[in-house]
Amino acid sequence: MDNKIEIKKLIISSSPHLLNTDSTKSIMWTVSIFLMPACIFGIYVFGLYAGLVVLVSIISSILAEIISQLARKKKITIDDGSAFLTGLLLGMNMPPSVPLYIPIISSIFAIVIVKQAFGGLGQNWANPAIAGRVFALVAWSKQMTTWQTPFVADSLTTATPLLALKSALLERGGNVNIGPIQLLQSLPSDFLRTETTYLKLFFGYKGGCIGEISIFLLLLAALYLIIRKIITLEIPLSYIGTVAIIAWVFDGTRFGLGFFNGDPLFHILTGGLVLGAFFMATDMVTTPITVKGRIIFGIGCGIITMLIRMFGGLPEGVSLSILFMNMLTPAIDRFIKIKPLGFYPKKE
């Protein structure tokens, strides 16, 4: 072969010449795809209207991204999957029977105000999906806490396990002397009486947001993403670990059972903890960059979640805790530094 022809085409670059095959785009789309089973399960349980909520949320996120990038005269980057993922997560965090204008406005808020106004991907100060959900929760608290019984299309009466628990405790003034599972089973609701078991909570036969109910499918997806090293374990473990410890040590006092008698498993299997800890608190942009920082982030989320669940007016605190820790992330990154290998403080 004639070497002369080849020489003209040789590419010059600075090393390294080998790059990892993972890209921002592949990470975003992989996470989106692996969230699908849990999302589809939610649609199967709550009916097609829930699917419409997710779809509308995704489409309005993508449209909001296109319009704001046009307005900012930037390249349109919806192919990187981040707007899709935001829409999907937001949709999965909506109650199944929510009016459609709520996911639309929340998506626009998430993309335009939280993400694009601060400079787009990589610059957002909070996880857009979380911020969108909290926005909706504050703006339309009634619609955002109206729940649906699994497999019953029109019933709007059933509460989520956490909500039912909170109101039952308020009614009976604490000191019920039984754990959360037994307490829920003792309530007048037929559904809660027969269906509140650890196994059914785990597989997702309960009221809640569209995407958060199937702990089983969420954990399966998380397992794959952890093996692929797309999500790291620091935040989920420290987050869920903190929730479990606080629940075990302190939560029993709410039921008149005293310390060290709480039910950590109940707290893990209910609410959006698994969805939040594995898929929303691990959002790369808004979490600390160091391992130590991430552990602090997870512990902080766990403490705030349990404070809200035990003492707050709201039944659930996952999104608020993540939002709050998102805001603390720059401070954590500023103070947690890594010491270079072999570094020692210079003697003055």
Partner: protein
Amino acid sequence: MNKSFGFRGIHPEDYKHLTNKKAIENTDVPNVVYIPTIQHIGAPPKIVVNVGQIVEEGQLIAEADGFISANVHSSIPGKVIAIEERYITTGKKSPVIVIELNGEFKKTGRNIILDDWHSMSKEALLKKIKDYGIVGLGGATFPTHVKLTIPQGKKVDTLIINGAECEPFLTCDHRLMIEKSEELLEGINILNKILDVKNIFIGIEANKKDAIKRLKILTHNKYPFKVVSLKTKYPQGDEKQLIKAITGRIVPVDKLPMDVGVVVQNVSTVIAIKEAIVNDKPLIDRVITVSGSGIKEPKNLKVKIGTLIKDVIEECSGFKKEVKKVIVGGPMMGFTQMNLDSPITKGCSGILVWTENEYQDFLANSICINCGKCISSCAFGLMPTLINKFIRNKLYEKALDYGIMFCKECGACAYSCPAKIPLVQTFRMGKDIIRKLILNKK
């Protein structure tokens, strides 16, 4: 249990199957060699031959200028036909001595064996290593005699032989450990005579099982050397990481391995030392790996210093497909070539010919998403994403604060980045600027 330097680092695909079963072959002697004088770190040597002069194989043609410098020898017998400037594989220019083949080989193919090294003094051995132009063949090309000269007051108790070869594609050290294991062990004995150490380790990555096994069998009950299996992970072969993995000692950032009592030598270097002392052969050839999907026959070759890249590629039957990149060295730290007219130097460990199969677009970078993967890949404990932002915003003092000068440019950060940000490339530029702006002023 495989030893490792810690949790950080990266796991690139190693591509070693292309050449790791192929025995080292000798190349045809080129008609003309182009021997650069700058083949090492340190002062450039002085040329001691003139155009028209007849030289023998192994004759000194450029003499070390000062202590941290190295001699250069003619790799073939012949006539000096020119002394010119030429680009070398690192992309810099060097004076090059051009020698046309003529006459008789006095080293190659002769079985010279000098058995008397046991009676030689430490100083005589060191002098021979210096005279014969031995430099570190792992890629850094630091003059070996400097590394082996322990200053007064420092005590070295450990010698580590670096057989990690953590760069993907390269298999030359692997083949040497299998085919020249006796020579390697004799070379270690010579080093031990110079250094007189307590512990000797041979560190080999676990992807070279056959080499580990062979050296374990050969050393069993015969030599007090410990063969250590290391986890396959980049940058396991870096001097400081290797020391941490094997001895647990951490070399302070501004100190040398000898400050923690360790000397590290590469496998190829040890064999070159043995050939210098026992076979009376200066460093005039080395083993390189020619690999990649663009080369017809990937090979491990013993090449005369000064052979042009295109002659080596010819030796492997030429190109197979349209070539995108030619890299000298490994894919993580090697240099891309603008043409095939640069000569092989002492520091070249391989030639990689890449087509679109391996080529990745380094211009497709996007914005940082704060994932922290660069931090968890940096074996030196730096925070590449932050240093990158400091350099880009001209905050050089801050970059200095965050330890940019401790960067070894291994490239793990840029490899791991999902946004494909040229991190290490920015640091190279930043280090240069910082040296000029800040450090030179102080």
